[in-house]
Symmetry: C2
Subunit: 278 residues, 2 copies
Amino acid sequence: MKIAKTISAARAFVRDARRPIVLVPTMGALHQGHSALIRRARRIAGEKGSVVVSIFVNPAQFGPKEDFSSYPRPIEADESVCREAGADLVFRPEAAAMYAADASAFVDESRLSMGLCGASRPGHFRGVCTVVAKLFLIVQPDAAVFGAKDWQQLAIIRRMVRDLDFPVKIIVHPTVREADGLAISSRNAYLTPDERAAAPGLYAALRGAATRNTPAAIVREAERRIACIPGARLDYVRLVDSAALEPVRRLDHGTTLAAAIFLGRTRLIDNLQIPARS
Amino acid sequence: MKIAKTISAARAFVRDARRPIVLVPTMGALHQGHSALIRRARRIAGEKGSVVVSIFVNPAQFGPKEDFSSYPRPIEADESVCREAGADLVFRPEAAAMYAADASAFVDESRLSMGLCGASRPGHFRGVCTVVAKLFLIVQPDAAVFGAKDWQQLAIIRRMVRDLDFPVKIIVHPTVREADGLAISSRNAYLTPDERAAAPGLYAALRGAATRNTPAAIVREAERRIACIPGARLDYVRLVDSAALEPVRRLDHGTTLAAAIFLGRTRLIDNLQIPARS
């Protein structure tokens, strides 16, 4: 496994790499969820193709009061995860290599990014779109693998790929969960023992609510169940169209039940795909 | 010379095309200026490489009161110009093929696009950045050739390429002029005979002003000379840093004297590169 710390080193790898090139973009602090994404990328690339994992804590997607500086950066452990999961290249640039001091061009999205997490994280998805566009243009992947946990991010990246004609296939991998149902997340490390004990209540609330028969009843039931999680504060629960992320009035096509809560100072997100009902 | 009217047809050409691929993005209504860009692209591509000309009147870069619907679209004449200048492919998609009805992802620039033409054309450079990004992602060129006449557009595209890591070399070709100095432009066709007779005064004003010795004196002299052009209304004159497009206080590095005027209802732009003075 090779390591590239600069854009030019990554480009040099890509120039000689065998295709398909499959990219797994991450912010590091890699866990079993990422590991599953990298193994998935390895299967897609096959023995002959190339798997690239990017590790970059992207300052542009953190708000001024968010956890950019405290975000974990266990780089040696991360490289081990990548190696064991079958990566061929880890691209881990410094922020100064990714953004010029006077950087002023960016990619953004104006509809899907407005609601859900976008409502409480202004500028977040501009940061996400811009860095993913840059990674796609540096690594030139044939496919890229994203986890389903941040469904809004996934939907926005699919939209960006469609609208800007990126020649990249977006692969979605199911959320990897702890035995008790909690979606694995780098930010779970922030939870106190009490918060950790309460955290599986989020996914349980979504699953419990999804059995209801109307969109309004599903959202109401999720809110009711989240209100019963000790120490939880609701950010949002929404039932949306899985692609356009717009509120739905019917359950006759696939929908996404998405929620965000605060447990103490830690923000957790999760979602559930609800199949179409006749 | 081949014609591609869809994105997938363009991608099929690109898949089999020999590199380097050199792109000349245009809105059609091709004149001697475009012809010079295509011949330049041909020289860069060499006999073995591929020259792609895109012809697309991009709705996203026209304001609601601008000339999108009346913009000339002489497609047969345009294809002849491309053929004679040595193009291998003309990519001329319909607007519906380029923009989904619910398109919401875009590329924009937040500094260089604020002044000069951007001040009176809100949204224009977002439209330009987005369509050029799409063309780069569809055609995957090694290089792209732009005219120097729209210097602000050129500087913004260079900035976009730098900030988003497009693997595309931007080539600038000098403005092609009529014998009387008027920069050749598709919009010159809108001028009445009297306006056409007055129009060379814009470039003459820039050249006359550039002999002055301070930034303030250069701008003042250009304004004075433009005020003497019959029927002309000044939009702006600015002396700016050629890359960052910020106002300059000194002439010790290369600067750009840029101006826009209205002659009747037609908006004309031009610029002059002023070499560094000690």
